[in-house]
């Protein structure tokens, strides 16, 4: 594993990012814009599932209409985040907050995958003209909010410790 990290660190693209004066902050800017779009859109959908926001709109419409934004945000976040990681990989590989963030990210992705594979299938029936959002969906939504907040916090902490 360490060898892979070392090779990534020494790759031409990682070296180019490190040696450029502005590339690193430019990537950081894309990373934060992507993260805000992704986490913001997810928060709106989760709060709808928890019945605290947009209660007069059908849940399925809120979830479906914000889905493209989460994908765009996710793509921006992953590409810029991947490049930021590669550029510093050998230096931050052992950072405890980086590892916590990676774990939280895996958990958040598992959470959404599991949600979509199970209770999400009934989403069309939830909302003002349908039935109450089931408890299982609310648990997925609450977990998602906590996990994404944790990802942002641990991500910020990587820079300081």
């Amino acid at each position: 594993m360490l060898q892979v990290i070392q090779r990534l660190y020494e790759s031409p693209i990682a070296t180019a990012i490190r040696e450029s004066e502005n590339l690193f902050p430019i990537l950081q800017t894309f990373h934060i814009v992507g993260t805000i779009a992704l986490a913001g859109a997810i928060a709106i959908v989760d709060l709808r599932l928890l019945n605290v926001l947009l209660r007069r709109e059908a849940t399925v419409r809120v979830a479906e209409s914000l889905l493209p934004i989460t994908w765009i945000g996710f793509a921006l976040m992953v590409v810029s985040g991947g490049l930021l990681f590669v550029a510093q990989s050998a230096r931050i590989y052992e950072n405890v907050f980086l590892r916590m963030k990676a774990l939280l990210l895996v958990l958040a992705l598992l959470n959404v995958a599991l949600f979509h594979a199970t209770t999400f299938r009934q989403i069309r029936s939830w909302g003002p003209d349908g039935v109450e959002t089931p408890v299982s969906a609310r648990v997925f939504a609450a977990l998602s909010l906590v996990l994404w907040a944790g990802i942002i916090v641990t991500g910020r902490f990587i820079a300081y410790f």
Partner: protein, 154 residues
């Protein structure tokens, strides 16, 4: 006058504490970004509804009404945490040319949001003017985030 406010802010107990503790500073910064992400979600949901890209068929003014509580709540958190960040290093911000630019960029979409709300309430349909305001708001909020990131770098 403004310089004195910055100095006073830095002299407060909380300002001194945040200047001395990396963990506390990073915590406030994280809170600032989490609340900003929530605002980002609200801004995207509200303005994309106005331009007709999402929640088609829903009344834009009704959607904005339903988002108002969350918008104002997260705005308060962003503002308070922002003041705390300035208190931790007042000179850094006082002398930074991006700081007034960021505040100006912040004031503009807030003003736009107010005008847009009024316009949607008084007119039955979303017109071109409302759509332009919504695009302007999205554009300026992006500017706030970008200026905010570079503020910490220069």
């Amino acid at each position: 006058m403004i310089e004195r406010i910055f100095v006073r802010l830095g002299d407060t107990a909380v300002g001194q504490y945040l200047a001395s503790s990396t963990a506390a500073f990073a915590t406030v910064e994280s809170l600032h970004i989490v609340a900003l992400a929530v605002i980002g979600g609200v801004i995207l949901a509200a303005n994309l509804t106005v331009v007709g890209w999402i929640l088609r068929g829903s009344k834009a003014s009704a959607v904005i009404d339903q988002l108002r509580g969350l918008f104002l709540g997260s705005l308060v958190v962003v503002a308070l945490s922002g003041v705390l960040l300035v208190a931790a290093g007042p000179y850094k911000y006082y002398t930074n040319p991006l700081f007034p630019l960021k505040l100006l960029l912040l004031a503009m979409p807030l003003g736009i949001h107010f005008v847009l709300q009024k316009r949607l309430r008084t007119r039955r349909d979303v017109d071109t003017g409302a759509r332009v305001l919504a695009f302007g708001s999205l554009f300026l909020w992006s500017g706030v985030v970008i200026a905010g990131r570079w503020l910490g770098l220069i």
